[in-house]
């Protein structure tokens, strides 16, 4: 065990501070799945459906430019309880979901948990999401594919089966959660972000500071003395971001803010910079938001 930790330590030391010559993880340079959220029917803030309840599962896709339609297939099963590697079904899936989503609409489905599910167990969703060609997914091998040019993405999501003792609400981004160089940064649905007053502007190649604020309530207390950790993923389809991940640790004192540097793309970049922010607590719940920037 010590060898495992030492190796990881050595790897961390050796790779820390190195510019990654491989594709940076924060760059949405192709269609990417960025997360999934769970909302319990009748109590949408709760991410832990109880046995017999229905959960609404939504997948977040990131696009390098325009949003594309998607097709998808998912199966739901009881999770096997493995500790590493891709999670696997402990028994045959009890439900299968297939569908398509128009451009701009996220893949989504509703799953009703069997009443016999044990509280505090894990429901596993496995599947395949494609933006080109029909998806297929082999339940036996948990391998998916797309019949098209886009290889698609094989995905998994673990959903904690709730009980009165372990219910978990999804984290939320408040309306003032994001600032760009200290100025409020609102969401925009406008086709031309430069025409929207809520959208900040940046000069090509200029350096900026993005800040995300989380409410203290986002870190729920659970168990005897534990408090959630919030993992923030920040990605962008243009420019250069300092890193992909930030954390709000249980010990962090309010106000809970993280900052990340971003350099705007050079002049001539075709894409409007779109940021994707995903907040995850360490008990399986997630929420997301997107923001755009006007380059001029």
């Amino acid at each position: 065990m010590n060898a495992v930790l030492k190796t990881a330590f050595a790897a961390a030391v050796l790779t820390s501070g190195c510019a990654d010559p491989l594709t940076p993880s924060w760059l949405v340079d192709r269609v990417r799945v960025l997360g999934a959220s769970v909302a319990t029917e009748g109590d949408p803030s709760r991410a832990t459906p109880h046995p017999g309840e229905t959960a609404h599962v939504v997948w977040l896709l990131g696009f390098p430019s325009e949003a594309l339609p998607s097709s998808w297939v998912f199966v739901a099963c009881r999770e096997a309880g493995t500790l590493r590697g891709a999670p696997a079904c402990g028994e045959r899936p009890f439900a299968r979901f297939e569908g398509t989503s128009d451009a701009g609409r996220a893949p989504a489905f509703d799953v009703t948990l069997p009443a016999a599910f044990a509280p505090d167990g894990q429901l596993l969703v496995l599947g395949q999401i494609c933006t080109s060609g029909a998806p297929s997914f082999d339940e036996a091998t948990a391998v998916g594919s797309c019949r098209g040019a886009d290889p698609g993405t094989t995905v998994d999501l673990r959903i904690t089966v709730g009980s009165a003792a372990n219910d978990n609400d999804s984290p939320v981004f408040t309306s003032d959660a994001f600032t760009f160089d200290g100025a409020p940064w609102g969401a925009s649905e406008s086709a031309d972000p430069c025409a929207d007053a809520l959208v900040p502007a940046a000069a090509p190649g200029s350096a900026h500071r993005v800040e995300i604020a989380m409410p203290d309530e986002a870190r729920e207390a659970y168990g005897a003395s534990s408090r959630e950790t919030i993992q923030l993923s920040h990605l962008v389809n243009a420019g250069e971001l300092e890193r992909q991940f930030s954390f709000v640790e249980p010990s962090a004192a309010p106000p809970l803010r993280v900052a990340v540097a971003w350099t705007a793309p050079a002049a001539g970049s075709a894409s409007t910079p779109r940021f994707y922010f995903v907040a995850r607590d360490d008990r399986g719940a997630a929420a997301w938001a997107t923001r755009t920037i006007c380059i001029r």
């Binding site: 030492k6 790779t15 501070g17 491989l22 493995t82 995905v155 998994d156 999501l157 640790e249």
Partner: protein, 681 residues
Amino acid sequence: MRSLPQRRMLQLLLAAVVSGTSLVARRAFAETTTKAETTAEDPDLEEEFGATARVEAPPREVTKRTLEAKELTRVPGTFGDALRAVEVLPGVTLPPNAQQPLIRGSNFQDSQVFFDGAPVPILYHFGNFKSFVNSRLLERVDFYPGNFSTRYGRATGGVIEVRPRDPRQDRWGGVVDVSLLDSSAIVEGPVGSRASMGMAARRSNIDLVFKSLAGSADFNTVAAPLYYDYQYIASIRPTDRDRVRVMMYGSSDRVELVFAKPADDDPAIRGQFAIGTQFHRIQSSWRRQLSGAASQDIQITAGSSKFDVVLGPNSQQRIGVIDIGGRAEWTFALSSRVRAVAGLDVKNEFYRGTYTGPQPTDGEGTLETKFGTQRTVSAVAHLTVAQPAAYVELGVRPFDALLVTPGVRVDWFSNLGRVAVDPRLSARYEVSRRLAFKAGVGSFSQPPEPWQAAASFSNPNLAPMRAIQTSAGFDYRFTDTISVGVEGFYKRLEDRVVDTVGGAHPRYVNDGAGRVWGAELLARVAPRDRVSGLVSYTISRSERSDHGGAYRLFAYDQTHVVAASCGVALGRGWELGGTFRLMSGRPLTAIAGRTYDATSDLYIPRSGPLYAERSPVFHRLDVRLEKKWTFSSFSLATYLDVQNVYNQQSVEGRRYNYDYTKSEVVAGLPVLPSLGLRGEL
């Protein structure tokens, strides 16, 4: 490393144990073996028992390879470290981040390293540049790649026995050695006419330059990498028949950094990173010649070890271990043709501490995955492991040229509640003074790591692993200094402990098998004259099977391993040496696919056929140059040890991008010089 246990009632400390190193009942037996006045297996005995000629007795093991004091500190590329020097011997490789050398296709934990008969808990300091002991305090290193004596157990691989020397008895003196890597000092000398003592201490110098070499805005250095070790040896000869040796030794490594931001490829790696490992030992031994035909060797060892590792907020290990062990060995010359050795060998470990982190695994047979995608397990370590063993061995010479050594070892593993019985047999036939044939077969048992068999954490029903080892070969001496040895070997592994698929309950099972076969050649020129050196070659194949599946390559299998090392005394105090290594690349596993894990926002790779590919051939040249000035009362030397002289970019592995669709090679160390200055009194 041994750690991670689980809750258990603390058992009473087992009684201190007795044990010993091998004293050979020599004279009567010797007369029939070498036709010399003595055949001491241990050169110490020459002095003790008045030998007038040094003729080594044939080893109890099929294969025993010894690196003498003169060689231990002069193998180029080892920075003068004795336990790095074994890398040039056949059957040995030392991959980066290895806990200890890999021997004949066995995994790290399957072999054991002993310091004067006692197992060593932590062999190397950071980076594997230096081991825990100052090499200038050593008399020799004995290496048994397989088919070793019943004196050794709890291992299915090989054994390395590090033999300290007695401190000098002629006068007080010392050595001071300062290099870029570390600084050390030795002081030793006589205490009266029957005793001597020596002390050594070493401290790394890396921390002095760490910030300037590795300074980065990405991490803060709380404690720069620092290691130290120390050894104290007192040797007393109260009578002509007795020798008492008391040793204290220990080692410590510490580093603590705080990373400023999470790693993009694995955000679980963030925040505090600290490693603090140390061990301290006191060890005493008493050798007594009971009569002309019987001797006794008793040894007791006690100490403590700490393994503290913090790797981000989700992985923490704080384990303390108290070790108490010992040996007692009695040797009898039953007749002029029969020698008997009987012994007890006891090892007790008391674990205390906590572990939180990914499920421990040795990494063999699985694809490495990111910490952030692994579930966290926790355990409280209150574990007692007692492992007493008894062994007996005969040395029978039915006629002068043939030595047959049958033996049996019985081990008890308290945490498993199981007994292992290991019969072993070896034979050596001396066709002439130059040529000898040898062969051996035997059973070898090894307990699982304590945490693998801890009841509430993993699988208390595990059984010991077992290996059947066979080997045969010959030794030929061209002259007193030039010799060649060739051995072939086959090793079958049974009941190997493997992880369950995905780490599911009970996490570890005896569901693995293995087989290793190959041949080794060692040609050497002993360091008696101006020139010394050796050439070694190993061809082997090491395979494993998991859960009844087809055999695959072992993670560290290397088909061809060649090492050539030589040293030349050029005169006027100049010495020049070089070591060249050439070896097959290590196996690699291709990525067959990936799954996006929405829970962690990371990708989990899907393995292709395990170890179906190989990294490119590895080769490297190391050179060592030393100039020594000798004055009337002291000497001064300066040396330059350069590792990887022509800066060969060896491939240590592959590093992947975030979704495993692109990769790049991870290169090994570039050219690495170490300049040093040494003064000797």
